[in-house]
Symmetry: C2
Subunit: 321 residues, 2 copies
């Protein structure tokens, strides 16, 4: 196993040269980013812990590296930001050799290249515990235009991208021992793929900012029921979800509460629905109205077979098990 | 133990309100930072792993939280940047209760307040392994003015702030079972304090940028011998350190190779030495010339008792033990 400095030198060779927004990348005490005039900088950080967020047997190292970045790109998507630079911290147990790490970086850097994201820094350590990955990411968005969680208004329509529940169904299959290689039906394969190789909705986030069609947005990392609650809490209003409208090939339970779907959930004033239809057409992405926002104090509801019930936030919580 | 969302809500209440450079803090998919016009954004990330970087018995949770931020502030200092926002990821073993965490945050947020740094985001997870802390930090520096590692020229003088070797000596005492409470001599107490409560040289970094007195800088996280090697490698030149000039109350070994000192090592053209003297006076900080930079290919040397020897980089490596 190489020394810390050999590892860093190796990764630096593989990471793309600093260019454009990234003035100085790996190799100094910090990276230097040059924000475009009129833009703001958007930053988030995501922690992935082996045996909490992933199991090494579930996917290849390439796919795990890819997913580590995808999760952070999804945060940029939810803000409507252009992703720019990533900072990767790895706590490495000795069971992971250089070959594993090389493949992990291939996945990470490959997805970065696709979205124009430079690996601009990071940190390494050994650990006696599980493999731990932290990704901090920066992006840019036109000043004052970031998609926040707090802008939804009563009367706005509730939209979601893509379809729901596949990641949760895939997780269950992985936990039962199925893998990408042993999945025998197309549905299982899609579900597992959705869990191990999510596609961040970066283009959609940008389209929502550029058209001004959304008043608020969040990505579905914890699950629809929990993430909708976050959106309502931050906007200070209520919402109703119509069960019959949920785009899913899986169970209602998975669609409502399944985590790690990485679709966008967003609010659209009724007068701007045509813009959403245009975006759906142009990006060839399913964008489905699944409910509406209600006045403050209305709470968060599920309408099902003509009856309403409270939609409890039962998505993912890393301290509940 | 609270749920993930309760924990986040609690920390959000304690973190200072977004203001100034931080437009949007904890509570959305990402933070939004508004860079001042004419400034660039500086970003770094640092990973601290229990039993690799620290031992819970060595200090209080307040001091550990303080140090987690201090290490990142030191990166901002080395770039000459004004620190702005921090992003804290914690992988928490079940042995750490809410009381421990509250105290950890007190230390972290307290130091943040002192340097005007807002805790603007983060992530939590449980873990079956050691306590792991990752801090990503952002700062701002006047465009094109960041202190890089790559700007030193042959003939520049090599300066270091403060004194050397105390953190390594403190670490050795901590490893032998001594603590802040049981240290019986002032020297042991200073050494342990230096290790568990380092003071980042943020004001010095700013002074070096504003006066234009330094051509390159790095912070001493790995140890003088290793960090000087980084500086020489990035600048493509050699250097000589004079052993007799090293400011230390500890052994030459500790001064040369001891890690986590968090002083700044920097290059100064001879014509600008008066500016350094002025900064030392104004900041009441010892700034000591310890050597000079040499032409490319000269290597990195130690001059001792009139003789030269190669200065091997024997600082800290997280994969060597």
């Amino acid at each position: 196993m190489g020394s810390e400095f050999e590892r860093i030198a190796n990764i630096r060779r593989r990471a793309s040269r600093p260019a454009g927004a990234v003035r100085l990348g790996i190799g100094d005490d910090a990276a230097v980013l040059h924000p475009e005039s009129g833009f703001e900088t958007v930053v988030s950080t995501d922690l992935l812990v082996e045996d909490v967020h992933f199991d090494l047997s579930w996917s290849t190292p390439e796919l795990l590296g890819r997913k580590a970045l995808a999760v952070s790109l999804s945060d940029m998507a939810a803000m409507g930001a252009i992703p720019r630079a990533a900072f990767l911290s790895l706590a490495l147990p000795s069971k992971l050799d250089d070959e594993y790490l090389d493949a992990f970086f291939s996945g990470f850097l490959g997805l970065g290249d696709r979205f124009g994201v430079t690996l601009a820094g990071g940190d390494f350590s050994s650990t006696s515990g599980p493999f731990i990955v932290n990704v901090a990411i920066t992006g840019e968005v036109e000043a004052e235009r970031a998609l926040r969680r707090s802008g939804a208004q009563p009367g706005d329509l509730l939209f979601v991208s893509g379809s729901l529940g596949s990641s949760a169904a895939g997780l269950r299959q992985l936990q039962s021992g199925m893998t990408l290689d042993t999945a025998s039906t197309g549905m299982d394969l899609d579900a597992i793929r959705s869990h191990v190789a999510p596609s961040p909705r970066v283009e959609l986030g940008r389209a929502l900012v550029l058209t001004g069609a959304a008043t608020a947005a969040i990505d579905l990392s914890d699950g629809l029921s929990s993430d909708l609650r976050h959106l309502c809490d931050e906007s200070g209003i209520g919402a109703v979800v119509e069960a019959s409208l949920l785009p899913t090939h899986f169970s209602l339970e998975d669609a409502l509460h399944g985590g790690e779907q990485y679709e966008l959930l967003f609010a659209v004033p009724p007068a701007l629905v045509q813009r959403i239809e245009l975006i759906a057409h142009q990006l060839k992405t399913e964008l489905t109205r699944i409910g509406r926002f209600e006045h403050p104090g209305a709470g968060v509801w599920l309408e099902r077979d003509g009856r309403g019930e409270v939609l409890e936030p039962r998505g993912w919580d890393h301290f509940r098990s």
